[in-house]
Symmetry: C2
Subunit: 115 residues, 2 copies
């Protein structure tokens, strides 16, 4: 399955209408994924390999898929890299204040993750 735009099924990103709160909660109820989201709040976009988490690459791919399918992140291709960003606009349109409430509850005094 080639990665370029011409042939790829283009990473499944659910519409905001299809977001499920239960999926979002489940996605965030994991320390690795919560760290990813927190890191993304501080930087608009990041390459996959640059997150301060300590897991194998394949595990990281798994966590990105969970976050992506829940609607929390959006990923785009750029040559060899995959860039990841929070779907803040869609999230806030669908569930106003939800992400802020959750992430702030997790780290109220450390909103800007390092790096």
């Amino acid at each position: 399955m080639p990665r370029s735009n011409s042939r790829r099924p283009a990473l499944a990103h659910p519409d905001a209408d299809a977001f499920d709160v239960l999926d979002i909660l489940h996605a965030l109820a994991d320390p690795t994924r919560m760290t990813i989201v927190r890191t993304l709040r501080a930087a608009p976009e990041r390459a996959c390999g640059t997150f301060p988490v300590d897991v194998a690459p394949s595990t990281l791919t798994h966590h990105f898929r969970v976050l992506r399918e829940a609607g929390l992140i959006r990923q785009r291709e750029d040559g060899n890299r995959r860039w990841t960003a929070l779907r803040l606009d869609d999230l806030d349109a669908r569930f106003p204040g939800l992400l802020d409430a959750i992430v702030n509850a997790y780290a109220p005094e450390d909103e800007a993750a390092e790096g």
Copy 2:
């Protein structure tokens, strides 16, 4: 293990200081438990067997334990019954706005569960 106050280890309820957001998210990321919490938002206190969920009694006990150990509910004894209530005060003191944001996101137009 008798149930009366004189001998029981008195249902473990964590202090608000010990609440863990990840545990709370995990507890709420289940449709049965979310229904319990939503129902509890409409009624201050309820007996265990009066929730509009369709699971076996032992399964319900399991879900109550998950919610209790995450700090979401408080349970007290009254003769034969066990009464369950939301720990709204503790939750709001520790994580202001969190529970509202989550439960409203789940059912924004149906805040008062039936019953």
